[in-house]
């Protein structure tokens, strides 16, 4: 196996993990990873040699995800993140203690940017600067999305409701 293939394949497990957390369907996640790898192979000459390969790949994957999302919305399909994620675990009665809920279902209630920053920083171990580059945002904005996301997720895990729903009530 050549060097490019070795370099790329090292990151496939992380790409599959991030893709799965975004789309929550195994096949759709692998489709996304496949698209990402095809693009990476095609644009291999465009990567920053000094930059982090994992961050570059995660950027491509996230951009692909967003493009698909946009296209579907443009075609007039009713499309929200919820439509491509598997149904969340049924909402059991709120447990007063720190309820053990499906954290992935909680993550699905967040806007994509908050969800991505939590995943990139908390699971993929990207630095805040790298996460900012992947998301194309200033690092300060990334930090505030991280705060907002983590707080909303905390609220969801503790009460089973999203902050938005509570405000509406």
């Amino acid at each position: 196996m050549d060097e490019t293939a070795i370099l790329l394949e090292q990151h496939i497990p992380a790409l599959r993990r991030y893709a799965y957390a975004l789309v929550r369907q195994h096949d759709a996640a692998d489709d996304l990873v496949q698209d990402c790898l095809e693009r990476a192979v095609r644009r291999w000459h465009l990567r920053h040699r000094d930059g982090d390969l994992k961050a570059w790949l995660l950027t491509i994957l996230r951009n692909q995800f967003i493009n698909i999302y946009r296209q579907k919305r443009r075609r007039g399909m009713h499309f929200a993140l919820e439509d491509i994620v598997e149904p969340a675990a049924s909402d059991s009665a709120p447990d007063s203690s720190t309820a053990i809920r499906d954290i992935l279902a909680g993550l699905d209630t967040l806007p994509e940017d908050q969800k991505s920053v939590i995943l990139l920083v908390g699971v993929e171990d990207l630095s805040y600067d790298e996460a900012a580059r992947v998301l194309g945002l200033p690092v300060g904005t990334v930090m505030s999305r991280l705060s907002r996301g983590r707080e909303k997720l905390r609220e969801y895990l503790e009460t089973g409701r999203t902050a938005v729903l509570r405000r509406v009530k």
Binding site: A5, P13, Y20, L37, N63, R70, G122, Y128, M143, E151
Partner: protein, 260 residues
């Protein structure tokens, strides 16, 4: 103000949770958490979240990689598609040049055919030639109304576009215009210039099929790089050398790839 003295921020708390805190901040953060139970329980909740999420996703990362994701297979399917495209082009080229070249090909000396050079690139070069020489109306909408320009062109092309920032190459956006293309399609032309009056255009056209790497073409004194991405055809043209244009095309390519 030294780091030691600056007050504790949310960024410190996240850094503490993510194990990214700088050694000289640890003490201050820990003292703060001890004195602020609210912040301490927030931090603890974030940490639990982080660990739970990692645990729940760990299995996904340890699954064996499906064969279709092997780089060798990704390359093979790409070659297959390219070959089919090449065959199509080669077949039509053969019909056109029938006689003479046959013998040449039979010798095994097959000229490299430029696969599917789209009409788009000739149109882009014509548009370049038409408008760069125009002293009074090189653009329809000026760069001073950039937001309006980008929005308008995006609406007409039916795809969100943006005007790449090429200032680090000395090129400033002058503005842009809408152009007719084939049938129902339209094209947009963005024009840039530098201090020496060199003009450069980025031509974008919808309705293009497939996706290609960028390719280079020289027509007279005009150099053009062109490629297709996500249904949009792009052509970057200037009366400049290939070497000067190459870093610019790479920057355009990268900026366009960012969805925001």
């Amino acid at each position: 103000m030294t780091t030691r003295e600056s007050p504790i921020g949310e960024d410190d708390l996240h850094a503490y949770v993510d194990g990214r805190i700088l050694p000289d901040r640890v003490e201050a953060v820990e003292a703060y958490l001890k004195a602020n139970p609210e912040a301490a329980s927030q931090g603890a909740a974030w940490r639990t979240q982080r660990e739970t999420l990692r645990d729940q996703l760990a299995a996904k990362a340890s699954e064996p990689i499906p064969a279709r994701l092997r780089i060798s297979n990704i390359r093979a399917s790409r070659r297959h598609r390219q070959f089919q495209q090449f065959r199509l082009v080669a077949a039509s080229a053969l019909l056109l040049v029938a006689g003479g070249t046959i013998g040449w090909i039979a010798r095994g000396d097959v000229p490299t055919l430029n696969p599917a050079q789209p009409v788009m690139v000739s149109d882009a070069i014509s548009a370049y030639r038409t408008f760069v020489v125009d002293a009074t109306h090189p653009v329809e909408v000026k760069a001073s109304e950039q937001d309006h320009l980008v929005q308008w062109l995006s609406n007409r092309l039916g795809k969100p576009i943006k005007a790449p920032d090429l200032t680090r190459f000395g090129f400033r956006l002058m503005g842009g215009r809408l152009l007719p293309a084939s049938a129902d399609d339209v094209a947009a032309q963005l024009m840039y210039d530098d201090d020496r009056g060199t003009r450069l255009t980025l031509y974008l056209r919808n309705g293009e099929k497939g996706e290609t790497d960028y390719r280079f073409l020289r027509e007279g004194n005009v150099s053009a790089f062109y490629w297709i991405d996500d249904g949009l055809g792009f052509a970057l043209s200037a009366a400049a050398s290939r070497e000067r244009l190459l870093p610019i095309v790479e920057a355009v390519y990268r900026q366009i790839e960012q969805p925001k």
